[in-house]
Assembly symmetry: none
Homo-oligomer: 212 residues x 4
DNA sequence: AATGAATGAGATTTCATTCAT
DNA sequence: GATGAATGAAATCTCATTCAT
């Protein structure tokens, strides 16, 4: 996932190249995802990652920093993928579908991560929410761009308020995934994508729309 | 544990008639809403309610029980109001509008409560989420009934899957309120109702629909 | 040591009337005096006081607060005694002798306390030193008054700079007690008082001075 | 652990010739002087010295050893200087003045070092205090010799008890420097020397004494 | 000799809950 | 019913020291 420079310099500062950094993050997703933030002592995460408690603090400033870092990596991945996949895609409906698909795929294939983002991440204080907001912003921007593109193309109605629309899109995805994970992730989340998209586009009234 | 006279018997249900019960709940909404669940020690809630710490445990089994009880009262109020207001209302679109309005009014006029339900209530463990689900169920049922009514009347498309649709409706409302409260509740939440409903009904494509 | 009001109101706020407050302070003097501040975990102090760890925090804001409180009580006792004993005492030399005597008696009869003030209290950070300084100030003021009285009476030379003189008096006492405690408190500290006073008054040159 | 060539043998004593040894000591004086012993992690000292954490342990047994070593170097410097400067100096008063001057100059020109010796060095446990005592002893001996010389010359009164007198001298210097450093080292410490000496010699009574 | 990542023991502090009054 | 002092378990985080490289 990371290109290494030829001369492998490894300081803790370059944490992201470090396998321990990854190990701790993965352990945290798993432990927090299953037990919840406040039932996930550092000692448990460290044990799961196979490192000593103190080692965690070589890679993360504090426990909150782990939470934030997981989100940053997750959103980063999603935004990177979307950046590529939306590249050159003109059809707004197709864009929307990609938007939903990438989100659903990222979380739908990793229930621990889904549990983490949909449930436990919400256990945050005011300061963390500020950081979370900053991290999510690029994702919101992508949604906004898809909306704008749709309006410009005349496929989405021009009466749409960007913020309200974004909340409908995000809220619908969010609630769908939350319901899926809270009922035990028993069905295939991805199979819902067509209906979710159709509902977003056509609304309750179910206007017919055509895919080019 | 000892003999009760009939008159003196008090069940938890009857405690609801007690003003201390109300005082503690209101104090909890305020303190938890502003400080967060984990920054809201029982002692703080008790002080705000004007009772002793121990008194809280005469009315609630434990701290989680307070959280659950607040939600139960809140959802109960909403469901009761909707039960009345939807009575004899035939137009599905009008029903949807009432659905959104009652929800937005309940939370939009009480930021502490909105903060509580949209943010801090999410700090729950598996067992609590089960209870939360049970409490919310009647509200979901009402949503489902409105959807069914709309399909039956031919106003909502019959292609709709009830669960997915419900999540779209709930997710959109939820995200809208969360965004409102997290940005400081600076604008009038109720003024968004028309656009939110229009978006739910017409979707991104914005099909025209008529109010009878 | 404390006069109680007739109606015994006991809140934690009125900590000083509380025997647990005293018990913790005494335990802290003993444990810190013998083991040192950084080898005296709260758990050890609590056990010595016969209370639970958490109880300590009902009476003291934090560990530093214990340190500060001990000093406050100690200096308070000394200052109170001096306030009484110097009352109406005109002879500056006699005043000086009382000054030394009260200090030596307070610490000389309580090696744990002496160890605490002379050795372990010094383990403080900048903020604590500020507080310590404030607490000691009244004692310094008393020394200054004795010096002033002596100069006015013509018994002490008028060439004296008040601050330097005070440091000579305090430094001499301090060093004497420190040496006594660090060598195991094996001899009678009080028996040194005459020589210490004579040295302070006559200096190395040993001028003869008369006691009235 | 392996065969050393004669040339390469290094004992700890010889390590003193090593510039890293000096660098670490100087860094420790600075860091501990400014932050305090317990806020001065080895890592901070190492960084200031420009070496790795582990390197510190090639030159010092442990953290306490650094503390002890700083004191040893400091006292060593003072004792060496005094050994030279008192050589052939007959006048006891002049000797006393040199005593004070060398001490004040050593610390008065290096606030970090003064902070170290006057404040942070006191954060020691029983075993360290023993070592500290051993290190300071030669300095005490010098003081004792000056006192003896003064008595012999009839300049200091023969009623003086050597130990008490030494404590008066040392305590006065110590307290003067401590007060200076704790009030921010804002004035010139050296300018106090004449008054301090006059006070030591003439005492509060201020007997006139003559400098030959 | 030098490095610095890793360790893990240990300490302070909070707070839900109990129970004697 | 009401009180609130007392409890003690539990969790985060720091940092002296080690040791493989």
């Amino acid at each position: 996932m990371n290109g290494h420079s030829f001369i492998e310099v490894r300081t803790i500062a370059q944490k992201k190249n470090n396998e321990k950094y990854e190990a701790i993050l993965n352990a945290a997703v798993k432990v927090i995802g299953q037990a919840g933030y406040h039932n996930a002592p550092i000692s448990k995460i460290a044990r799961e990652a196979g490192v000593a408690d103190g080692t965690v603090y070589l890679y993360f400033k504090n426990k909150e920093d782990i939470l934030i870092s997981i989100l940053r990596e997750t959103i980063g991945t999603i935004v990177d993928r979307l950046g590529e996949e939306l590249q050159g895609l003109e059809d707004p409906v197709a864009c929307l579908k990609r938007l939903v698909t990438v989100y659903f795929e990222t979380l739908g294939t990793n229930p621990d991560l889904a549990m983490f983002t949909q449930v436990h991440l919400r256990q945050s204080n005011a300061e963390m929410r500020k950081q979370i907001g900053d991290i999510i912003k690029p994702y919101y921007t992508i949604i906004d761009e898809v909306i704008a593109k749709g309006i410009e193309a005349g496929v989405f109605t021009e009466r749409l308020d960007a913020r309200i629309t974004r909340r409908m899109i995000f809220g619908t995805m969010d609630e769908t995934i939350t319901a899926w994970i809270l009922t035990g992730a028993k069905y295939d989340l991805l199979s819902l994508i067509p209906q979710v998209c159709e509902l977003m586009i056509g609304g309750l009234a179910g206007q017919i729309h055509s895919h080019k």
